[in-house]
Amino acid sequence: MFGELLTGAIGVATSIAMASLPQPATGATEPPPVPIVFERQVRPILKAHCFQCHGEDGEKQGGIDLRQRRLMVQTGALEKDHLSASELLNQVRSGDMPKKGKPLAPAEVATIERWLAAGAPTARPEPEQVPGMFFTEDERAHWSFRPVAKPAVPNNGQKHPVDAFVAAQMVGQGLNFAPAADRVSLLRRASFDLLGLPPTPEQLKSFSNDRRPDAWPRAVDALLSSPHYGERWGRHWLDAAGYADSNGGGKDSPRDDAWHYRDYVIKSVNANVPWNQFIREQLAGDELARLTQSGAPEVLKDETRWQQVAATGFLRMVPDTTTDDNPDPMAAREQVVADTVKMVSSSLLGLTVGCAQCHDHRFDPISHTDYFRLRALFEPFLNPSKWRSPKARAYPAYRPEEDRLNKEIEARAAAVDKIRTDLIAVEYAKYLEERLLPLPEAVRGVVRTAWMTEGKKRSDEQRALLKKYNFEFGREDHLRFLQNREEQEKERVKLVAEATKIREAKVSRVLMAASEIGGEPPTTHRFHRGDFRQPKEAVPPGELSVIEGAPAIPERDTTLPSSGRRLAYARWLTSGKHPLVARVLVNRFWSHHFARGLAPQLADLGMRSDRPAQGDLLDYLAAEFMESGWDLKAWHKLVMTSRTYMQDNRNPVAEKKDADNVYLARMPLRRLDAETVRDSLLAVAGNLNPEMGGRPLTVARHPQGGVVLGKELSNANNNVVHSVESLGPAAYRRSVYVMNRRTLPLTVLQEFDLPFMSPNCAQRAVTTVAPQALMMLNDRLVLEQADVFARNVIKKNPGDRPSSVWVRVLWQRAYGVSPSAQEIAASLSFMEEERQRQAQKSATAVESTERSLAALCQVVFASNRFLYSP
């Protein structure tokens, strides 16, 4: 329904006036006089107000075409020998044109006048052929569309290239770097950044005591080699890909096999798979593996190719409601295609390509046809006219031994199922007799027979009989409605859980993957106004036209079993020559270290995104990234060893002059994101279960509201949850393994801005609201982890009165430092008061002490010092 969300355009009339809105209209200075030419000053005005009726998409109302000076003369809009009397000027000056929308602003009319007075010059001779969409030099010259040229490092005495670029921008702003951060802050910062967890006291100690000159790069290396690194940076990429364990839409049915893609991402990031390979695999792993429908089992026997196919789960993450009951099935399929284009373009191109789905992009040089060129890359595998349901796109890849194992497991589970069904049968049989007993002996037989007869087959007499004797209870698959069967019901619940647990041991090797069925790829048509019911001319696959140097994409690569389109495109994207991909990635990486990107809009580097103040730095880092072989770990190390990264949070001058921290003269505090808040609670409590990978941890609607980890025990319709069964130690695994059911976000994550994947998330929101505070004060998980902390710490450091040792352990784990004398004193008196209160409330001595420490631990969890990365 909201496919057009980003695809519509603003009203023409307002586009010019509002396009510059992000910069308030104050302090504007007169630009230096630039020679007026058609392309630079005039065409943008006409494009916004006039092209839609006079030139674009075959529209030439009144025969007028305004796309070129040449065409204006040809079609009579310009009076060649008497320019100032031209119809163009008359029409806009009088307000007769544009017919629809607001008249041109006086300044715009004045610009046209000025241009005509200057002789209506063009910047260069105009081409004879007007392509589908005509880009101006300014559009082609937009910074992010130009090839990445590695800028020379400014020679300003800074040893580190990143610092040299940053320092160069500080000149003239009266800014300088903040002093270096202390070692504890530095390691905490790095650990949150790279692992999403606070450092352990041992890690801190070893780093603080490491007096070698390269102690810091060693510390960074150590963090980069932790398997938690992949969980953290994999999660960042999963946002961009829109990873979800459900299909979206109103029904939001579960997706059982999406997690293989999540594990592929985490594994690849941990293995530091070069990002060019990583991207190629995700866009075209099936083509790399030469996957075919019939040859799949053979292909998937090979581990490398298995991984490549798993990688294409990337292209299957967008919502797919095509198996739901849709009023318009074709529209649902088309939505999948549109979402795929949107997800790929926002994550890899950093452009709002989706805006060109219905017409030329209103701001960016992306034509309507361009949109369909990109679509043609994905159409062979999605192919709405020969749609395959998500199930039909899944690839089981069991090895014979796995098949055998799964069958064995199923047999064991079935045996437990049998015990359960027998139990139910026996209890019902007994219950029936209990109920029959009070009845007159004569009717017992007929009532029994009536009850045992299947509902549909009962005769009218039988029904009447059952009604008469109040025997209308049915046979359920549980024992909840039977009197005096609590024990048996408990046993039944246990058996259900047991069977489920047994089945969980089954190996899952079913991949959500992109694949093509081979043969002639479907023809992609441009859809008039984006409406799939109005196909127009055929459009071949290709890159956005504004991007220069792109190779031709084959319609059909005959050396492959598939069309080869995505593979060719992926190779181009990762060729090192693509202007956007590395910039987009590096900008996003940067934002995960510094809270904002060098270009602040991570998913829109188009015309509305001016070259950022740190544009040279961005280009340098993009170039460096590609030259290093798309090596992200090396990139982290480069950035993290800079003074820019290592500086302190405080810089009073910068705080005053540069509140948005554009010039990077300090490291801003950053609120931990949703997953890091939860994972850090678990880590500080000493309760984090480091198990990696596998099926997602199930989420459940809690009867008291909110979504928690666990298994729902619900009624037959699944709409009333009675209780939630714990997941045991699995409930303390990292948040990246929590099931991402779009409509059931885990509450503790949602409160801290877990994104809703629709279809993906290119940039997270960060909010600060009271429900977060309520969560830190009252949520089950927070209280539970504080308790766990208290129990564990007291066990190791026993005592029946609050101890400063406990305070030290807490401070060390949560803040990485020892508490001050004042903090110890305040904490001890807080705990002692609490202990006494608890003792008065009839808690046992042990409980009272534990609760007092837990209460303190909770305060620390809730504190800003804990919730913000230094």
């Binding site: 519509g8 009203g11 809105l21 019911r533 705080e655 948005d660 801003p668 505090l669 209460a855 800003n864």
Partner: protein
């Protein structure tokens, strides 16, 4: 509460805070402007620029673009020329699949009330409040894309990242209540709206001014209950220690405004534990009130419950309440297809609750000081989005016309203002642009849209940010 007591309340709260004076001084400032690190951004009541009419606002946000010619703006010409070719051209900037076929409304209109406002049979309840409401047929926010239209409706700008109206109001005026957020977003049962948190973001205003999202069912706010063993003194002691730790941390990081907001969030959270349950609890509302809002009817329960909550919040001094439609459900106004089926469904969900809200506010004397807005981000086209059979026809987006109404807080009741052309295609009279709308709302709250400014990175920014904006005084009593 009547107007007089409200005004006296404002005056009482209007401590002469140097803040405002300083802000006024800013307008004359030259050169790059520096942010105020020494200014504390809080929710204490602030004096407005001039005498306000409104104290609170309820924004009934009808995402999707309600169809003006099927609801509030009958166009006989569409009936006469049904399915003929539309002369001229429908706005070329429409999004998807427009045909040139004129598409008549399928619903009957009748004049209602003393003002004689035409209301479609789809909205029988709204028809009963026509004389309380100021009808705006000249809405023209200018964008026909959902996202940009929504940005315009909430932030007055076209791009993401700007502060929303509720943020500007709480920034400018502070909060009038002590135990609830001053800016509340009431989300739908089916989930978050399109653009999620951006609908109530503070943008680049300090984060203390962002909206707080509230669930549509009980518990509407989670985690309101302290754990039994810490309730009372235990948690008070926790909050006291937390405050001292946080203040120390904040003193060490004066450049970080978010820390202030978080400290404030704990204070608010503590008070919410006391007040919020009662404020959000509609179970004790009398039966006739529940019935009036349709709380117990599945068709209206979600909107009805939330409208009732909105009234309760306004009664308790909440400044800005917004009701949203879920992105995930099909009960919205974006009727591209099957409008014959989908529009009535969208109407049923909100008609009764919205009408009840106005009546209820009025009977409690709250309508004098509460501004209510009903409307979306755009309207729809007079032509058909003609795909499939006639049953599946719908209407496409239209940024040039729409329909909305405002009520209360000195908006002229029963005024039918503005007009579209004979097709309902474009607003031609009494035009209300997004900047006009926002300047007008701020004005009702006693704020001058040019003077309510915020300094950021060397610039002075405001809600309208230099766009032409007119306070629509002709709509005021």
């Amino acid at each position: 509460m009547n107007r007089r007591s409200f005004l006296s309340q404002i005056t009482a709260a209007s401590v002469a805070i140097p803040w405002l004076l300083e802000r006024d001084g800013l307008l004359a400032a030259e050169g790059p402007v520096k942010p105020d690190l020494d200014v504390t951004y809080d929710l204490l009541p602030k004096p407005p620029h001039f005498r306000p009419r409104a104290k609170a606002m309820i924004d009934l946000f009808m995402f999707g673009g309600p169809s003006q010619m099927d609801l509030f703006d009958p166009k006989p010409l569409l009936q006469q020329r049904n399915e003929q070719r539309f002369p001229g051209k429908v706005s070329a900037d429409n999004a998807a699949g427009a045909s040139n076929k004129i598409f008549a409304s399928q619903w009957k209109f009748k004049k209602h009330g003393g003002c004689g406002m035409d209301i479609s049979e789809l909205l029988p309840q709204m028809a009963t409040i026509v004389d309380e409401v100021c009808w705006l047929r000249g809405m023209k926010f200018g964008s026909n894309a959902h996202d940009r239209g929504t940005y315009l409706a909430h932030t007055c700008g076209l791009v993401s990242g700007r502060p929303t109206l509720g943020s500007w109001l709480t920034y400018g005026l502070g909060s009038l209540n002590d135990g609830l957020p001053s800016y509340v977003a009431l989300t739908a049962k089916a989930g978050l709206p399109v653009l999620t948190q951006e609908n109530w973001t503070a943008g680049w205003l300090p984060s203390v001014y962002q909206g707080t999202m509230v669930r549509s069912e009980e518990p509407r706010i989670l985690n309101l209950d302290p754990p039994p063993h810490l309730a009372g003194k235990g948690q008070e002691a926790q909050l006291a220690l937390l405050r001292s730790l946080n203040e120390k941390h904040r003193a060490a990081n004066p450049g970080e405004q978010d820390l202030v907001a978080r400290i404030a969030s704990y204070e608010l959270a503590a008070k919410m534990q006391v007040h919020a349950r009662e404020a959000f609890d509609i179970s004790n509302e009398p039966a006739h009130i529940r019935k009036m809002y349709g709380v117990d009817d599945p068709a209206t329960a979600d909107w009805g419950g939330r409208c009732l909550v909105a009234r309760r919040l306004v009664e308790r001094g909440v400044r800005f309440v917004q009701l949203h439609i879920a992105a995930n459900e099909n009960r919205d106004w974006d009727n591209h297809n099957s409008i014959g089926k989908n529009l009535p469904a969208a109407c049923v969900a909100v008609d009764k609750p919205c009408a009840a809200l106005i009546r209820d506010l009025k009977q409690r004397g709250l309508l004098d000081t509460t501004l209510v807005r009903w409307g979306g981000e755009m309207g729809r086209l007079p032509t058909a989005e003609a795909t499939g059979t006639r049953e599946t026809w719908g209407r496409d987006h239209n940024g040039k016309a729409g329909c909305m109404w405002m009520a209360g807080a000195g908006m002229k009741p029963g005024l039918v203002h503005g007009a579209t052309d004979e097709w309902g295609h474009e607003a031609i009279e009494g035009i209300v642009t997004a900047p006009d709308f926002h300047a007008t709302v701020l004005h009702l709250f006693g704020l001058d849209h040019k003077k309510l400014t915020f300094k950021r990175n060397g610039l002075v920014a405001s809600m309208t940010d230099g766009q032409p904006a007119r306070v629509l005084t002709e709509l005021f009593t």
